[in-house]
Symmetry: C2
Subunit: 438 residues, 2 copies
């Protein structure tokens, strides 16, 4: 059997400890599948004394990941630190420059520095793998980078954040408010104490930025992702959506349009009969639409120590099986130096259907005014529901579903309606995503 693949693990939180544990517990099976052992020879973390339930004797300890990156007895630097972007960036860059392969689960690192790091990895002829950074245990990076090479991808969309999907699922099934469902998610450990990064859509945006690059061969461009979180979604929206045949999901969507690439993260109406509508709880899913395949859909666990460890070890196994001196392994599907610049399509140019909710004063002429502003802005309506959703005699809720229109028209119509003084509260609109026929 070939010499063991020697691994240094930086970061011993839930994921890091799971990786070390699984590599140890499944050592024989992995050696059989890879033709060589995968051996943790070094670790780095902040607190050496903490009990992590794993045996670290005979493993070289480093207080700093940057020092471990320079350790010449490792073949692979596994980065599972999260946070502290400066240190992580320095460590990963040093590891690549030292000629080590890198495996990382760090979406924030790659969303900012992915192209730069990919260039270094490709010049050094080492792997920079990141399956765990996007959808946890679902092997979407490998599928896009390796299986779909012959496909021209036109759109991807997915549920990439388990916290948001758990909250939206509970809001639908239990009828609780956003706030109560968030508290529930925090109690169960599905949401952080500070849940901002998840519920405001930033976590999804980071993952989407990586997937966009893989899909379209463009440079990663996190700043061009349009982001809206789920905190404005109310029970009225969820119930009205259900009545009209939709579920509300926080989707990350990227597609090619004539004016550039749309990257959007926002609460989205999806048809109740679609596959993506059936993805409940903390489960993640990604749909990929391409010329040769039509639609592929993957679903599975998007987070958690074990699921993330599974993805990290999959990446390690690929490195263990590769035996040549030089590896041709473009990090982002195409060589990093050949990625096209990202050309952003502005969200105002977005074309699609819209769900619009207006809470209006219950008085004569309001609906006529609303209808006129819609018509003036060339918006035609597919459905109209007017009903006292709230137990309240002085206001009414009007729900509109538009045919395909543009965002600029919708925003203009809503601004005009607002100016009329008919609204009791701020208007709500939610984009509808078209799905392939199931």
């Amino acid at each position: 059997m070939a010499e063991a693949l020697k691994v240094g693990v930086a970061g011993l939180g839930t994921v890091g400890a799971s990786v070390v544990r699984v590599l140890c517990e499944k050592a024989n099976s992995l050696a059989c599948q890879c033709g060589r052992s995968i051996k943790v020879v070094a670790v780095s973390a902040r607190d050496k004394g903490r009990d992590r339930g794993i045996d670290l004797s005979n493993i070289r300890w480093f207080d700093s990941p940057v020092e471990m990156a320079a350790f010449d007895e490792i073949d692979v630097f596994v980065e599972l630190i999260g946070g502290e972007l400066d240190i992580v960036y320095t460590a990963v860059k040093s590891a690549l420059e030292a000629g080590h392969h890198v495996v990382t689960a760090n979406k924030a690192l790659l969303a900012r520095y992915g192209v730069e790091l990919a260039i270094i990895a490709e010049q050094k002829g080492v792997f920079l793998h990141f399956e765990a950074a996007v959808a946890g245990g679902i092997p979407v990076v490998k599928a896009m980078r390796e299986s779909l090479v012959s496909n021209h991808i036109s759109r991807i969309y997915g549920i990439l954040n388990g916290t948001c999907n758990y909250i939206l699922t509970r809001m639908f099934t239990e009828g609780f408010s956003f706030k109560d469902c968030l508290a529930d998610a925090q109690r169960l450990g599905y949401a952080e104490a500070d849940p901002t990064f998840d519920i405001e859509g930033n976590d999804t945006a980071h993952k989407l930025a990586l997937l966009t690059s893989l899909a379209f061969g463009t440079a990663i461009s996190l700043d061009d992702v349009y982001v809206e979180g789920i905190h404005n979604i109310s029970q009225i929206d969820i119930r009205a959506a259900d009545e009209l045949g939709y579920r509300i999901k926080l989707l990350g969507v990227a597609l090619k349009t004539d004016s550039g690439i749309e990257q959007r993260v926002h609460p989205t109406m999806v048809p109740t009969s679609s596959m993506i509508a059936q993805i409940n709880g903390v489960t993640n899913a990604l749909s990929i639409q391409s010329d040769l395949l039509g639609e592929l859909l993957f679903s599975g666990p998007g987070a958690g120590g074990m699921a993330t460890a599974s993805a990290v070890i999959g990446d390690l196994a690929d490195i263990a099986k590769a035996r040549s001196g030089f590896h041709y392994a473009p990090v982002l599907r195409r060589p990093a130096l050949e990625l096209a610049p990202h050309k952003k399509a502005r969200i105002s140019h977005h074309a699609g259907g819209y769900f619009i909710r207006l809470n209006v004063h219950d008085r004569a002429g309001v609906f006529a005014a609303v209808a006129r502003h819609m018509a003036d802005n060339h918006i035609s309506l597919e459905s109209i529901v007017q009903r006292p959703f709230i137990e309240n005699q002085i206001e009414k809720t009007i729900i509109l579903i538009t045919h395909e229109t543009t965002e600029v028209n919708v925003r203009q119509a809503l601004a005009e309606i607002e100016k009329d003084g008919h609204l009791v509260a701020k208007s709500q609109f939610i984009r509808i995503e078209r799905m392939a026929e199931n």
Copy 2:
């Protein structure tokens, strides 16, 4: 750029012609992703004169795939012949022995000779890839072989035949008979003129046998797959299933039990709310259950020239990117010489719930007799529906849903009921597959 990867394509039917066409049309994009060109330098087919809409000038023609297998100017032998198992086996074996990599879409070949061919490939240090053999364009082989290396898989189940799923979907949505839906599928090209291989479940069985080996590290054992087709499914079954919260799908299922590995292909009741129940038309899907990931589900196109070409070219790209002299690439996830013997669990030992349909004479005492035979065989019932499903005064339909029991008990109870002379027609039973909570 490295030297081109030189490919010989055996078989120029729909799939073979699609592969040649896509490799030509997307040559630049593929070269960019693989770091070298993938070039078809040889083809073999029966009829040189036929117009396939592809340019074969400058490509060496072979009348026989066996001769092409010996051609020393190819790096990869791509086998897309189908049928003629003797010739295909000889050609693939010769190609491997000549030191060529092999990519094949041939499930029948691998279900019979997969282990033997894998041993040769591994001894020669060449790839034997077969993504296209199992679920068309869905990259399940790569996922199981590469991404899930650290997972202990406990069960897989899937919809692996588009013809059957199309027929069952139409029976549900249109209310037509099996016969009419089959004729419809044939008219649309979703079913062969002789549909036996598909509708009797054999196609699914071949694919399942390969997946079982990948999942459990056991030798491929096609003869140990229990197979039932869909021709006995009636409208009454479909409607009664719907009322009770189930859909009927032809599933391939493999799982580990205490007495061995169950490999089963049969019409199966799946909960209406499950993801697999939403897979409609010719779409395929596979669910993989494992210790680290819980459940992963993949869905997409399971057949067709373009989808199959996508899988074949994904395999070719992997070979193009690998640059070393020796490749560590176990064909069936574990080295072929280390695969465990397949230990079969007998279908009579199958434990699960059952849907039972009895068409009985409408006379006193029949239901009591049925209930007694169930109780005598330790079968407890979850639901009972008795209704004149057929417009007919002299017979009744009794539908039973059992709690978990064993197949031997169900068969014994039904034999006893039959002996009583109460049945108007042969009894029907359909196994229920438990799903993870969505």
